[in-house]
């Protein structure tokens, strides 16, 4: 309650100051105001005078004061610019006696802003921001007014609603108005507000509604409030389930997309490629490089970089995979453990190479239209980037399936993987099929890396994060079975995201993961060759 009182007092101070400023002189003499600002004794008064101003120069002066860029120089007040140059309060450059740009002495202290007035200055500065035309700012201002509990804002909100055309801002304004009307003296007004908030299942209004329930005397309003709270609770519970399912599916998609490549190289070909994570990393860095090139060369098309990056990541990782196969892997077929060590070495080299070349501070920014998401239910946003990854995983899966099971090339691949000697007899170049299949696997990893850069880090270690999970998915699904990989990814993803909220506590994410691992361990006991095991004599010979 004390905090609320503080807020109310602050609001009162603000409106009060506004009033004073409106009555005061139109444009105070800047230099003299600045002088008074600089003196501790008159600082507060000067701030009050500036409160009502909309002069950009005042904003500049206040900002300089707050940033500690306001200095006293030869008896004058000057502002230190970003470039190190000095200007006076009106923005004119300050020259010294020789006509050269003036310099401050090293170690000189700036004009101090009293700690007690810092907030006041800050709020005055915020008013300048509110003058902007940005809908997002209007929306957040509406939310703030709604939670302020200050009924004096009601007329403002009413007026704002009348003039508001933006579809996102208008409901926010209405909600804010309803929240303020919860404290209206007229019971009918309160009832209307309660009903509206209940109808809109506004989670944000729960504290206010609860507070209202605590001291409401009108029985109709009480009943309506209780009903509204129940409505909101029910809605939130349902919404959460939808949210968990979506989280599960999107994790499944992440797992699937990072495992698809491995399903080819490890599942089909039996190559334990410890550098698979680094192939993923290559995809991420491709996205980064393309993004940087677009930002530098074609800033107008900066958002389209991702469409170039995605196929390029496929190519880059594919070509590197081809080189890796040609240079290393082909000498090691049938020696999985040697492959493990050599590819481990390759991984180390690629990781450090990336670190040396790119540094650790790289980032991939989503194109602007991937930013944010679609609000499926009030308060539940499906981020575009996640939706995109789900879609991409499906597309990649579909393409891989068509390629492997519905194309002539796929027939050759499967033939070689099942019976190398026989395929060779039939005139299939097993060397080429091996190389291309391996490259396909790494190329898929590249695509995954490019996509995962949207939600995660781009750094040299990114591969390590995913490699253990990927192997788990492929093995749980049953080596060599594409459908197994899909089912395993979905099972792990969903169970993880349904267990996580059920556990709660300070470490739900970790315990959920451990729980999933325990399930996997138990499952492998029960079915030692994965969900979809290969059958028949051949399988047991190799297992």
């Amino acid at each position: 309650m004390r905090a609320l009182a503080v807020v109310l007092a602050a609001a009162w101070v603000l409106t009060g100051l506004g009033g004073v400023a409106a009555a005061g002189p139109g444009a105070p003499d800047l230099e003299s105001v600045a002088r008074r600002l600089a003196a501790p004794a008159t600082q507060k008064g000067a701030l009050g005078e500036l409160a009502g101003s909309s002069d950009p120069a005042v904003e500049r002066l206040l900002r300089a004061l707050k940033d500690g860029a306001l200095y006293s120089w030869k008896g004058r007040l000057v502002i230190l610019g970003d470039d190190g140059g000095l200007t006076d309060v009106a923005g004119r450059p300050v020259l010294d006696a020789q006509g050269q740009p003036a310099q401050l002495e090293s170690g000189q202290e700036a004009v101090a802003l009293d700690e007690a007035h810092f907030g006041l200055a800050q709020r005055i500065l915020e008013r300048f921001e509110v003058l902007g035309k940005d809908p997002a700012k209007r929306q957040s201002a509406a939310f703030k007014l709604g939670t302020s509990g200050d009924p004096s804002a009601i007329p403002v909100l009413v007026r704002a609603i009348e003039g508001e055309t933006n579809r996102d801002v208008r409901p926010a304004l209405e909600d804010a108005l309803a929240k303020l009307r919860l404290r209206a003296p007229d019971a009918a007004d309160r009832l209307g507000a309660v009903k509206q908030l209940g109808r809109r299942a506004s989670e944000a209004a729960v504290p206010q509604l609860q507070a209202l329930l605590a001291d409401e005397t009108d029985p109709a309003v009480r009943a309506a409030t209780r009903a509204a709270l129940q409505d909101i609770d029910r809605f939130v519970a349902q919404r959460n389930i939808v949210g968990y399912l979506f989280n599960g599916i999107s994790l499944a998609a992440v797992l699937l997309i990072m495992s698809l490549g491995l399903a080819v190289t490890f599942g089909l070909m039996g190559i334990i490629n410890m550098a698979h994570g680094e192939m993923l990393m290559l995809g991420s860095y491709t996205a980064y490089v393309v993004q940087e090139i677009f930002a530098a060369r074609f800033p107008a098309y900066a958002d389209s970089y991702f469409f170039v990056a995605l196929p390029l990541a496929f190519l880059v990782a594919g070509v590197v995979g081809l080189a890796l196969e040609w240079g290393v892997i082909r000498f090691l077929y049938g020696r999985p453990l040697e492959t493990l060590i050599v590819t481990w070495g390759v991984g180390m080299i690629l990781q450090q190479g990336a670190r040396l070349y790119f540094g650790d501070q790289t980032s991939v920014n989503s194109p602007t239209w991937f930013r944010g998401g679609v609000e499926v239910l009030t308060g539940l946003i499906f981020p575009w980037s996640r939706i995109f990854i789900v879609g991409l995983a499906l597309v990649a899966l579909g393409a891989l399936w068509l390629l492997l099971y519905r194309s002539y090339a796929g027939l050759k691949v499967r033939a070689v993987m099942q019976n190398r000697a026989m395929a060779a007899c039939l005139g299939v170049s097993t060397r080429r099929v091996d190389a291309v299949t391996f490259a396909l696997g790494t190329a898929l990893a590249g695509v995954a890396g490019c996509a995962l850069a949207l939600i995660g880090t781009v750094d040299p270690e990114v591969g390590k994060t995913y490699i253990v999970d990927s192997f788990m998915v492929v093995v749980l699904g049953g080596v060599g079975k594409l459908v197994g990989t899909v089912v395993a990814a979905v099972c792990i993803g969903l169970s993880n995201k349904l267990i996580e909220p059920a556990i709660g506590g300070t470490a739900a994410a970790v315990y959920a993961k451990v729980a999933v691992l325990v399930i996997v361990i138990w499952f492998l006991q029960w079915r030692p060759t994965g969900l979809f095991a290969q059958r028949g004599r051949a399988a047991t010979e190799t297992a």
């Binding site: 020696r335 050599v342 180390m348 040396l356 470490a507 451990v514 361990i521 006991q525």
Partner: protein, 376 residues
């Protein structure tokens, strides 16, 4: 009919030579001032890790079972002695409280129940050896009896290692979380800040390594060793010959786990810290790398691999802080691609080269190599 294959005495000569260099030579050099205390201590760490590699070589090199859980067993050993050392120095921490410091920042003010037995040194040492063996036996009974093998066993142990690592990182486990156990003051009453204690620890480690080596040799040179290698090469044939291979696998898994625990036991007091970063999938994989680098399936390969890789890493991270992963990774690739049998393979080739030069003795060498002598 002469007795075939590698008799004991030859191995004993080599082990003796090894022991002479590491258990006697290095400490003497240290005493004479040729080798600094720091390097002696560092080598103590490598030798402890070599014991770990020996265990990995038994299970993976000889038996062909890739266990990615070795680091868990190592961790059990190291944490067991670590817990004992924490309790030994309790009250001497920053907070001056009777429980280890990390418990204070986790708001634990009374010693958890499972910590209590570790006040006994005998219990701590016993648990660092027996607990890993026991855990390995349980895992082994569950998996080998179920015919879980090959990649699936590797992935299963990986999942276990991953889960253990995740849990160990939680501070709720009351084992220090990410920070692990550190700030040991003394071991078995000897202050760890005195160089004498560290020297003694080094000698003990070297002696234990020699012992572990002899134990491993005894297993490898018995018929069991033959069976283990046969499991690696053709397990099904062995079963149809009447061997219950699961029993052999459980045995070798338990032995390798106990060796890993032993390594942990010797590692923690010398290094002065044990954290979850030594317990998990990646450190397990690293052990595989050491063994493969040195030469899989020969005990000497495991030793050489563990010591050389760790030594190289220590040196390279200091000499080339930016390039060391590239150098080390390249070395892994080069050795495995050019010498599939690892450093020991390289040594054998070098020897062959020498032998070719000295043609005159070559027939004798072939005859002595022991494989074609036991005709009737």
């Amino acid at each position: 009919m002469t007795a075939p294959v590698r008799p004991w005495d030859r191995e004993l000569v080599r082990v003796g030579l090894f022991g002479a260099v590491f258990a006697v030579g290095l400490p003497t050099a240290n005493g004479l001032g040729f080798v600094s205390d720091y390097y002696l201590n560092l080598f103590g760490k490598y030798l402890a890790l070599a014991i770990l590699a020996l265990g990995m070589d038994l299970i993976w090199g000889y038996t062909g079972i890739l266990s990615l859980g070795q680091a868990i067993f190592f961790g059990i050993g190291a944490y067991s002695i670590g817990m004992h050392m924490m309790l030994e120095s309790s009250g001497k921490g920053v907070y001056g409280e009777p429980v280890p410091d990390f418990m204070i920042w986790n708001q634990v003010y009374a010693l958890p129940l499972f910590w209590k037995p570790y006040t006994s040194a005998v219990f701590a040492i016993g648990s660092s050896l027996l607990l890993p063996a026991l855990l390995a036996t349980v895992i082994g009974v569950l998996t080998f009896r179920r015919r879980l093998r090959g990649t699936y066993f590797a992935i299963l142990t990986q999942a276990i290692a991953f889960a253990v690592w995740l849990m160990l990182n939680r501070n709720e486990m009351k084992l220090g979380g990410t920070n692990g156990l550190t700030d040991f003051k003394s071991v078995l009453g000897f202050s760890l800040s005195s160089p004498g204690t560290l020297r003694a620890l080094y000698v003990v480690t070297a002696a234990v390594l020699v012992g572990a080596l002899l134990l491993a040799q005894a297993i490898v040179l018995s018929k069991t060793g033959l069976v283990l290698e046969a499991i690696r090469d053709n397990e099904r044939r062995l079963e149809f010959l009447g061997y219950d291979t699961a029993g052999f696998k459980i045995f070798v898994f338990a032995v390798s786990a106990a060796l890993a625990g032993l390594a942990g036991l010797l590692y923690a007091p010398q290094v002065g810290i044990i954290t979850p970063s030594q317990v998990g999938v990646l450190p397990s994989l690293e052990i595989v790398i050491w063994v493969a680098f040195g030469g899989r399936g020969t005990l000497w390969g495991a030793l050489v691999g563990a010591i050389s890789v760790n030594w190289l890493r220590s040196v390279l991270t200091g000499t080339y802080p930016r390039l060391w992963p590239i150098i080390l990774g390249g070395l892994f690739m080069a050795v495995i691609l050019l010498f599939p049998a690892g450093l020991i393979g390289l040594a054998v080739r070098a020897k062959a080269l020498v032998a070719r030069r000295g043609r005159a003795v070559a027939p004798a060498a072939v005859a002595a190599s022991g494989v074609n002598q036991h005709t009737a």
